[in-house]
Symmetry: C2
Subunit: 295 residues, 2 copies
């Protein structure tokens, strides 16, 4: 567990450096846009998705610098989604990682534009030759990230999540919501390494299975935190799903069964990695980490 925490911290530090360069400060009247983009992106977060990119890339001997650029792109998409999700017209959150959300610190218009610019920049980063010398690889990364983040992925999941305030979702509905809203980007994070490393079908399939189970584990743990966590631990408001009357894994399964389910899925995730050697150990450890996280 200590080794994993070190690996997480190392990746977080490295990807922070890459993001800091990508989001170089600007002067002039649009400086505020860059400030808000930096505010939304730098200095916080576990960088769990970048970690998955870096670790999946390591399985295929991808250069660290290429992996970190793809990792930065995923994090840009993740951060944009948080900025837009926090908007008053969406989840209307005032706090994120213990700090005022972007529309609170700046204003709503700036938050909308910052999100738009972060999303756009993710694709610019992937399309750049510094990410990979082969154009097919770059285009594949772009296509896969777009699929994972768009209407058939994360944005579709957010739409479902809004609908969940008025419709009653069953277990199948919640699983589908999760697969789109958080699962798709987690799956891309694991796939990115395979794309960069031009991996064959078999390890790709294994990683896909791992990512699928990991994503579900992650969401159940998130739902548990929303019930059991404190604002001090999570850095954001808790108990929001119950207050909004939204069905979650925990509201349907109950705390105990949800926790059991998360443990089972984490074990199952690890089983998909059976054909990888010890280079996949950090990914194996990540599955336990996700079950046990407190923030």
């Amino acid at each position: 567990m200590l080794a994993l925490e070190k690996a997480l911290r190392d990746t977080a530090r490295e990807v922070e450096g890459v993001l800091d360069k990508i989001l170089a400060e600007e002067s002039g009247h649009e400086a505020r846009l860059f400030e808000s983009m930096r505010y939304a992106t730098l200095g916080g977060g576990k960088r769990f998705r970048p970690f998955l990119v870096a670790q999946s890339a390591a399985l295929f001997s991808v250069s660290r610098s290429a992996a970190l650029r793809a990792a930065a792109a995923v994090e840009l998409v993740h951060c944009y989604s948080l900025v837009h999700d926090d908007l008053p017209a969406m989840d209307d959150d005032d706090l994120r990682r213990g700090q005022p959300t972007v529309h609170k610190e700046f204003d709503e218009a700036t938050a909308i534009l910052a999100g738009d610019a972060l999303l756009t920049m993710a694709f610019e980063v992937l399309a750049d030759r510094r990410t990979h010398e082969n154009g097919d690889v770059r285009a594949e990364l772009v296509g896969a990230l777009a699929k994972a983040s768009g209407a058939h992925g994360m944005v579709g999941g957010q739409m479902l999540d809004l609908a969940a305030e008025t419709i009653e979702l069953d277990m199948g509905g919640i699983t589908r919501l999760q697969r789109l809203k958080t699962g798709a980007l987690i799956a891309f994070s694991c796939e990115a390494g395979a794309i960069l490393g031009r991996a064959s079908a078999e390890p790709r399939e294994a990683l896909r299975g791992y990512a699928h189970d990991l994503g579900l584990t992650f969401q159940i743990a998130d739902d548990l935190l929303d019930v059991e966590g404190t604002m001090e631990e999570t850095g954001k408001a808790v108990g929001k799903d119950a207050a909004a009357g939204k069905a979650t894994f925990v509201s349907i399964l109950g705390v105990e069964r949800a926790r059991e389910q998360a443990k089972l899925l984490a074990k199952q995730a690890v089983q998909h990695l059976a054909n990888f050697d010890q280079s996949a150990d950090p990914l194996r450890a990540a599955a336990s980490f996700v079950v046990e996280r407190r923030s």
Copy 2:
């Protein structure tokens, strides 16, 4: 002029068909997202940017289907930007192309998500093999569109535009605002054909010069319409810049000099095309069209 109008209409019809397929309707709880994306994109607009893509592609014998996919991607970005610009926190517009804006017809959250999904889809379309068989070309299209639409392009321009409500821009400031807010995407539209056709540096440079002058012409004409047009002609509210106390080309130059300037720039735009044969005639005609447009 009649030939140009026919060419515009033809491209509009063809790109509508491509967009209609790309935005295939979905069922289920996120159907509303696809409905709003279709509402924002289909059935309206001059499709001027798609026309520029199609015509610049024709200069380099690019297949019509490839050109139309790139054209659709540009239009997706253009439509997303309108959806977000119309939001209450931004320009707060109720009408667009004579119809309720997306947040009026649906709701704010849906409008934010529809914009996000349209932007994401633009990159998915460009990264797809059906757009070009060569990965370097696809990645170059993605990178160029991202640059044109992001913080250093369109979104940066929108940020400047918001700032323009409180700061006094001079001629240089307004020119810069325009170059970012509308010029960058118009420039990409002309560049896309050259990228698809793997054109050499010289014709690319010529097209860049053309696009630069055309973009400025376009914006001055837009400012003139905001002063002289009617809501019936333009399908949107007019007189908004003056009401907001925003400096425009017209507020600085006056109507007469602004019109002269637009004509001069349109002529200058055409001069950049001197080394192209008659296949560039529609682009030449487009410059005059832009000066004379009433909507």
